[in-house]
């Protein structure tokens, strides 16, 4: 590695990690939106991955290569518990239940001693490497891109446009919706595990309402045309507060406004417009 790159990575380490992790989170939102559902549980799933993996490292002293895959177990279990009853109902139920999940988990982290209360868990060894984050991000983009080009991808698009019609054409909509939610929980759980093992500290307020909505704004900014678009959206919204001084105060206001504008005026995402013009 050339020394300037080494310097750069060292100086902007946190930002480089955040870009990769937020990219994973954007994908985790993308898979659910791609089948026409709205889940706001991504931050909650991320929190479950972060807390469960941190506890595995701190209390059970497991090696990180075991902790990382195991970190998806708890998020997936919660996704099943919330998804099975809600996905057979109309879309609003999943959205409501997942918003509720985030609120509840925050209260649990705050009040149960095992999770460290308001102080959170600290002293988590920094075991995640930059290449792991970007390797997983690359794999996830590739996998979602391949799925999107397959018959499953076309079925997902059909569901997004008109669920009833897709069902009539023989698309197993219930199975795909559940599959998307589980994939979303896996991605968010991995992102949570990675972020806990690069930042050495996790707290109860990092996984509640605001991050959940922020993740949605990544995807709405990027659009859901291709799996790369949400990652780009996440990068833009992660970089902006770093580039513009004084911007971080209004960061959340902007995220909210982006969602409003995107839904009202640009249902295909803001970047999607640009990308079409370039020809991507």
């Amino acid at each position: 590695m050339p020394p300037w790159l080494d310097d750069f990575l060292w100086t902007y380490q946190n930002l480089v990690h955040a870009l990769g992790i937020n990219g994973l989170l954007a994908l985790s939102m993308y898979v659910v939106l791609a089948v026409g559902q709205l889940s706001l549980g991504q931050a909650a799933f991320m929190g479950l991955g972060a807390y469960s993996s941190a506890l595995m490292t701190l209390k059970l002293k497991l090696p990180f290569l075991l902790v990382l895959p195991l970190s998806v177990v708890v998020p997936v279990a919660f996704a099943l518990a919330v998804g099975v009853p809600t996905l057979r109902l109309s879309g609003v139920y999943l959205a409501i239940a997942t918003i509720g999940l985030g609120e509840v988990l925050r209260a649990v982290y705050l009040n149960v001693d095992l999770f460290g209360g308001a102080l959170g868990l600290s002293g988590i060894p920094q075991r995640a490497e930059t290449w792991m984050i970007y390797g997983l991000l690359g794999l996830a983009v590739l996998a979602l891109w391949l799925v999107g080009r397959s018959g499953i991808g076309r079925a997902m698009e059909a569901m997004r446009e008109d669920e009833t019609a897709a069902q009539v054409m023989g698309v197993p909509t219930a199975r795909y919706k559940m599959g998307a939610l589980l994939a979303s929980a896996v991605l968010a759980g991995l992102a949570g595990c990675l972020s806990a093992h690069v930042s050495s500290f996790i707290g109860p307020n990092e996984y509640a309402f605001e991050p959940a909505v922020t993740i949605l704004s990544y995807v709405l900014l990027g659009g859901i045309g291709t799996p790369l678009a949400p990652v780009l959206g996440a990068w833009v919204l992660t970089l902006l507060p770093e580039l513009l001084r004084g911007f971080s105060d209004v960061r959340l206001v902007l995220n909210g406004v982006i969602i409003v504008l995107a839904v009202l005026f640009l249902p295909n995402g803001l970047l999607a417009v640009r990308m079409k013009r370039i020809g991507a």
Binding site: G36, Q37, L38, L40, A81, V82, V84, P85, T86, R88, L89, S90, G91, V92, Y93, A95, I96, A97, I99, G100, L101, E103, V104, A107, V108, L110, N111, V112, F209, E210, V213, T214, L216, S217, L220, D249, V250, L252, V253, L254, N255, G256, V257, I258, I259, V260, A262, V263, L264, P267
Partner: protein, 292 residues
Amino acid sequence: MLAQQLVNGVLLGATYALFALGFTLMFGVLRVINLTYGFYFSAGALLALWMTRAGWPIWAALPAASLGAGVIAVGLDWVLLTRLRRIQAPELSSLMVTLGGVLALYSAATSWLGPDIRRLPPGIVSADAFQFGDVRITTAQLLILLATTILVGALLLLMRGTRLGLAIRAMAEKPDAAQLMGIDTGRVAATVSFISGCLAGAGGVLIGLNFNAIHPYMGEAMMLRGFVVIIVGGLGDIRGALLAGLALGVIEVMTAGYVSSGLKEAVAFLILVVVLWTRPAGLFGRAVLRRA
């Protein structure tokens, strides 16, 4: 001890019911899960705080803050939802718009006012309490009981006994048919937003009085209760929301009293998930969710 807990629970539940009534009314008539609803709650509490600090007595600040929240509700509904209503957008689009809107509102309010917990001026409600046998009821609690009874009574009277109520119920039943019958659905929608906003605002003032802790994000924590109550009661069902709200208040107080106060949210959520598994139309629900 048990009787006291029961009374506290019922009074807390009365404010939950009040809050959820507006939420369920909004869904029943406008067919939108409007997440800015939690902000009306915060707005009511913050307005009351501001008024009482300016020297207003609580009996004037409560209705004024509640009306103010109603006006905010009409404005936000107009900005965020009229366009989507016109193009008959899918329900998830409306939900997303209100989600973005409420994040912007909460964070703008927080960066303006700061995230600190604020308290109402001391002595705004007399600290006297009344003793009935083992049960002690504070003046604030009496005020909550009185205000909720009046508001719920007025709402039921409005819905069952006036032409406006008839129009609202017709629109909840079938908006197109209501319009064909000469009902100005745009105006009814605005009226419903206003009424819901007033109920949320009043709820905010009363919860602010009960716990004496007011901050911009208080509506967000309240939304979980709102979700539980309207789903357990059945989406759009007013009587269901009343009963479910009271029940939730009692359950929360009992959990806090006999198990752990940190787990009361978890218990509320557990109820939500169990009801979704077993009776998704709500405890009192029928298969078709079209009532208001």
